[in-house]
Symmetry: C2
């Protein structure tokens, strides 16, 4: 999953469900090409692609959310990342998909054939560099996630998870205090390396600490951003 960059963000202050893609994009950028790529609808729980599939397209999530995950031979699952509206998935030059990508809710994606992409990258060094940069961002995000998940306690992980989503909202000019969780507790658990029970208990605990409020299980309101941050950073001994 890739965060898109400034040239996109400036036009992405629309609603959560429909970031406007109608402003002209430079032809020479990845997002520029994606903005003109055809749309595809995906039902909740359906897969955009699976690990091992020949890589056919690069996708940009328009509405909805996609869960990127890997599975071990015995079925244990690790969610690598969640892609929201605006995020690009399956970027890279490998011939096969290295992850599974499952829509967690009804989702629309733009699909750019890789043939177009690799042709461009071969002709235009700036385009190839843009891909490098995007992958570099992705690498950095996975590393940060690795640090969080391995080194932090359950409470810290959940708090960090909420804060990362809050900052993502901020970058997109949405309310950083209102966080949509368009995925199940199982998805969150497999992302954070926790069981669904622990995720649930931790949300309850953060609620008890008056750091957040939860409506219907899918919308979290951050009440005390500073407190949540210090909880994420290991305040109160854990």
């Amino acid at each position: 999953m890739l965060m898109i960059r400034e040239e996109y963000n400036v036009q992405d202050h629309g609603s959560f469900v429909a970031p406007p893609l109608n402003l002209p994009e430079p032809h020479s950028t990845i997002t520029g090409h994606l903005a003109r790529a055809p749309l595809r609808g995906i039902e909740a729980k359906d897969h955009v692609f699976s690990e091992g599939d020949p890589k056919s397209h690069v996708y940009q999530v328009v509405t909805g959310a996609v869960c990127l995950y890997k599975v071990l031979s015995d079925g244990r699952r690790q969610v690598i990342d969640f892609a929201y509206g605006g995020d690009i998935i399956s970027l890279g030059l490998g011939r096969f998909e290295s992850c599974n990508a499952q829509a967690t809710v009804a989702t629309r994606v733009r699909c750019l054939p890789v043939s177009a992409l690799s042709g461009l990258a071969r002709r235009d060094p700036a385009f190839a560099l843009e891909m490098c940069e995007a992958m570099s961002d992705e690498l950095s995000a996975v590393r940060d996630h690795l640090v969080s998940v391995v080194q932090r306690s359950a409470t810290e992980r959940v708090a960090t998870f909420l804060l990362v989503l809050s900052r993502r909202n901020e970058r997109r000019n949405r309310d950083p205090n209102t966080i949509e969780l368009p995925m199940t507790r199982a998805d969150i658990g497999d992302f954070l390396g926790l069981t669904i029970e622990t995720v649930s208990r931790t949300f309850t605990k953060l609620k008890g600490l008056e750091l957040i409020e939860i409506n219907q299980g899918t919308t979290v309101r951050i009440i005390d951003m500073v407190g949540l941050q210090s909880t994420a950073d290991g305040a109160s001994g854990q």
Copy 2:
């Protein structure tokens, strides 16, 4: 950390300490340029670079080993990867280093100024694509590590760690059953998300299961590769 590719491997069947770099390399590849880059010696425990440093060079480890890690505000440390002879570190286009890189033993690296690299990448699309590909490999490695460390038990993690190093040896035409561990238990622990005590106990346990032997703490011999693999995959209930 980046695994280098086939065009390098064919000449890397030398000893552990001194992979021969004297065969001609194509000028147009990253490794080709690195092969001509100046050498620098680094003492054990010294840093090649630190997080936040302006990125000045791309490095290829020639001899020794480098530990790439991040630290949380409260001091907890996560080792992202270990780079051995042949591996490239600090590849990418960011302006600053995103990790700390510490030599775990006396180490020699080749240093290629980034100015040279980014200039090449801007002129030569093939060069930029090679960088993309290398970063893609790195991304894939971090993801695999994430899955291992988050989903697996202590025993599985240590077994997996040894198997990854064994396969690395295999790719370099070295003995896959003899594994050098040129780092402390603390480094391994911070890589696997375990304490030094647990790492030590787990080595002892694998020894008791007659899967490995350990000499002087730094050299592991794999006795039962198949058994080690099934231990890594979660045989015997954990």
